[in-house]
Symmetry: C2
Subunit: 90 residues, 2 copies
């Protein structure tokens, strides 16, 4: 099931660690703070729990959407001059 | 139709202007770089065209998803200590 995970985590170290979790779960970077990929419902829950534990009391917002094929197909995208690995932010 | 627009725009001025476009179209800020709200297919196209024109040659990536009620209902979210207006970033 195609998933989109987006986050807003001000703390650099927590954000970096949580990006690693996303990559560990096989997600690909769509934007600097957005990851996409296939996750079963169980893995969605598991990843969110790992993120919650790592975040601890730090501020953050994370949203994970499972998006059906039909909605995924209809997305509108515009991309220019960006590195998918997020180097624009370093 | 419930929509989610996410962007990654390194240039501060372009990003600010494009955030204003999203608010003008009645979207609400979900995260610092993510907006949600109801947009017809026509308004989705129109907003993306306005964004494309404003972005010009600046680097950026924008993705707009129309998400069905069922998928929207099943999203997983975690939020703590965050201002929805993005003040954590100022």
């Amino acid at each position: 099931m195609k998933c989109l995970l987006i986050y807003d985590i001000p703390d650099d170290r927590a954000r970096g660690k949580i990006a690693d979790f996303c990559l560990d779960y096989g997600l690909d970077r769509l934007q600097y703070s957005a990851f996409m990929g296939d996750l079963s419902p169980n893995h969605q829950e598991e990843l969110m729990l790992k993120i919650e534990r790592r975040l601890g009391k730090a501020a953050g917002r994370i949203d994970l959407f499972a998006i059906c094929q039909e909605d995924w197909r209809k997305r509108l995208s515009l991309s220019q001059g960006m590195s998918p690995q997020g180097e624009n932010h370093e």
